[in-house]
Symmetry: C2
Subunit: 446 residues, 2 copies
């Protein structure tokens, strides 16, 4: 019966004297002359093996780093061993011998490698426990997101990623050769979420890949990312959505704190408490601009002006909120019409003019936009009239419009960027670090 690293201390106590079996990857080898210490890594952590002679495989080869082995022996407590216990090995079997020309130092310090090196050696860099920790936390985020929404009567949906046209206006789409025609990779499940709310599910969510054919390469962009999408019927305004997202983020943070304390510690990271999340302010767009300009005036370029919620503004307003409210989570609402897609609901009925604002919001966390959301226009006639103003044709959007033509409740939704939330929880410099196999303009391997 195999014992995992995390259970070694307990096993050393409970099964003292019994032969135990462990399996894993050779993480580190220290040859001390007569005796050899091997740090073995499994899915749960690391443990120390002690060999009283040089460990060899059945063919007489020396152990190599990253080889996969099964060892048997007696466990004992050792306060100096990683994890607090060690196994005195009586027999070892090499299940898979690693070639000795390891091109990436798996047991090295992550911070000593460039992002390029980490991603070029992705199959090996993921073996590092600190890097693996990123994705243990990401798994918790996805589970906590889904579980919370299920508890609120949301239905999980799986919608097509192959669409006839874009929902955001047709730019930045990847083209797919689909038999004898062209289709596109979905930029978001927006239309489908709305369609399913209107179909009577009322409350839906989807965790799915989305695609943006943006050419720029920044620390905050991925060409393929995991979107955690929510849509909800019978709401009054974007404020209902902000309330939902606060509860959702609180739950996610609580679950990460509960399940991933070891992973957070590796990154010296912490998540906000539910009390702190409850204090996150909601600030209208114009007021946010005022705050960030006041903040900017205190900074290095006091004469510079910020005209938009750009990355600099996101950073400044989060700093302000941390100082003034005790949490670097901010909901900016009431974005001007010109900044939002055609389906965004106006704040004041009938107000479609240039100065018009909308029932929309972004969530900014630790200086980065992690969410965009809004109440949507659900009135068929208004939508049909709005399309031409955004350069869209009603005939191209007939499928979309039919959702609203035959009865659609007031509704809205938002999406949380899964990699961005992971990034900000851990304080990663680049969002690509939070994607198992990131795609950018140059990278489609591995």
């Amino acid at each position: 019966m195999r014992v995992l690293a995390k259970d070694m201390v307990r096993a050393a106590g409970e099964k003292s004297g019994e032969e135990l079996e462990v399996s894993g990857w050779v993480h580190r080898i220290r040859d001390m002359g007569g005796i050899t210490f091997v740090v073995l890594r499994d899915r749960s952590g690391i443990m120390q093996l002690v060999f009283d002679s040089k460990p060899l495989d059945a063919d007489g080869n020396e152990l190599t780093l990253e080889s996969v082995i099964t060892a048997k022996g007696n466990a004992s407590l050792n306060i100096k061993a990683p994890g607090g216990a060690e196994l005195k090995v009586s027999s070892v079997r090499v299940l898979s011998r690693a070639e000795p020309d390891l091109p990436y130092q798996v047991n090295g310090n992550v911070s000593q490698f460039s992002l390029e090196t980490i991603l070029d050696n992705r199959m090996l860099s993921l073996r590092n426990p600190k890097i693996r920790a990123i994705f243990k936390i990401q798994a918790t985020i996805i589970d906590a997101f889904s579980a919370y929404l299920r508890s609120r009567d949301f239905t999980e949906i799986k919608t097509s990623k192959l669409v006839g046209s874009g929902t955001e206006g047709g730019t930045e789409l990847f083209e797919v050769e689909y038999f004898d025609r062209k289709v596109y990779l979905a930029q978001s499940p927006q239309l489908y979420k709305q369609a399913l709310v209107a179909a009577g599910f009322e409350r839906v969510f989807e965790v799915c890949p989305v695609y943006r054919a943006e050419k720029h390469d920044t620390p905050r962009h991925l060409n393929e990312y995991v979107s955690m999408d929510v849509e909800m019927g019978f709401i009054e305004s974007e404020k209902d959505l902000i309330e939902l997202e606060k509860a959702l983020l609180s739950h996610i943070f609580e679950e990460v704190a509960k399940r991933n304390s070891a992973e957070l510690e590796m990154w010296n990271a912490a998540v906000p408490s539910p009390e702190a999340v409850a204090k996150a302010p909601t600030i209208p767009y114009e007021e946010t601009l005022k705050i960030v300009n006041e903040e900017a005036a205190k900074g290095k370029n006091p004469g510079s002006r910020i005209f938009d919620i750009n990355p600099e503004a996101e950073r400044l307003v989060c700093e302000w909120a941390l100082r003034e409210k005790g949490i670097d989570l901010v909901f900016v609402n009431e974005f001007p019409r010109r900044h939002r897609p055609f389906y965004t609901y106006p704040l004041n009925k009938g107000d479609g003019g240039a100065a018009a604002t909308t029932m929309s919001f972004d969530a900014l966390f630790r200086g980065l936009e992690i969410t965009s959301g809004s109440r949507r226009q659900h009135d068929y006639k208004t939508l049909a009239e709005t399309l031409p103003k955004f350069g869209l044709k009603a005939e191209d959007m007939a499928g979309y419009l039919s959702v609203f033509k035959y009865g659609c409740p007031p509704h809205g939704g938002f999406a949380i960027g899964c990699e961005r939330l992971t990034q900000k929880i851990l304080g990663l410099a680049n969002v690509k670090e939070a994607s198992l196999f990131p795609r950018d303009r140059k990278r489609v391997e591995p």
Copy 2:
């Protein structure tokens, strides 16, 4: 405070005399002269509203089917009303008026419509409670699959769907224009699952879209489907995987039975009990062929021979198992080498000849293959030698091979087709019925 249809009986009892509010879609209207009965549909079910005059909106228009309304009134028990209670309406507000030219009869009997009609009117056909029920069950399947695997220490992963080449040999791939190069939509997360087991996660799962550019149109194929993928390290053979899948299916069936009894009832469907699943036989490929030929000999064409586990064989062996074992779930293992991908592990070490068999299996449920799985070859040198025999080049597969070059445990996995499992639980004639927005050669809308 809104009351849902499912809570109306309780509300009629507990809040007798109080004014209640309900919201939903106008499912049916019966004008009885002086009094009008409206069946209102919400996410939880249907309920009866009683108007003592013709219901009109604020502009004096008559109610139309599928309009979304909010009504207030007093609830009372009525054994003859759908759900057992009804609301005597004192006021009504139309939130969204449906145009009266409804092109699809939402409240009709699903079996009266062809699949084409249902899919051509997808935005409306999904409003039918019986069709919606399919996807309520699908949501349970996905949740139960994920929850069970999490309880067994599997980590949820999200891997790229854009890949440089196919993992199954390069045929049947959809091409994507990716900036200045071409990539493909992933046929399965196979390589990534294996890479992450090797990276130390040991046990991973993913629920994700996969793509097959197959031109044929059959009741069992989709060009885009949801794959529920599992991969597990430190296994001995495919039998460990069959054991895992049995436990997994048992859990899924139990959760569907528990959470979706109303939906199962709409389809007159039932799921197998855990006791029945435990009895599902595992039958080697050759023996399965023998059984199906014996079964075929008793049938309409007693002279015909079956040389392969084709759809006819899948049906026959499931019928046999239901009769002989009490469950129409069969695991066929030990497939011949020639039927399986290059990465499949041989049953007898070194046996790569034409007669060789593999540590592989399919799961057949109610006459349909729902799973394919195997132990994988994890030995670097053997894999490198195997590739040319399958017409593959080691240099094209360098990324894949590097996973095994530096230590990879024995491992294997499988995938369950989410739509096929949904289809077979409910007894749907075509797998497309179990996809919210199915894609086939002709259909990419909506």
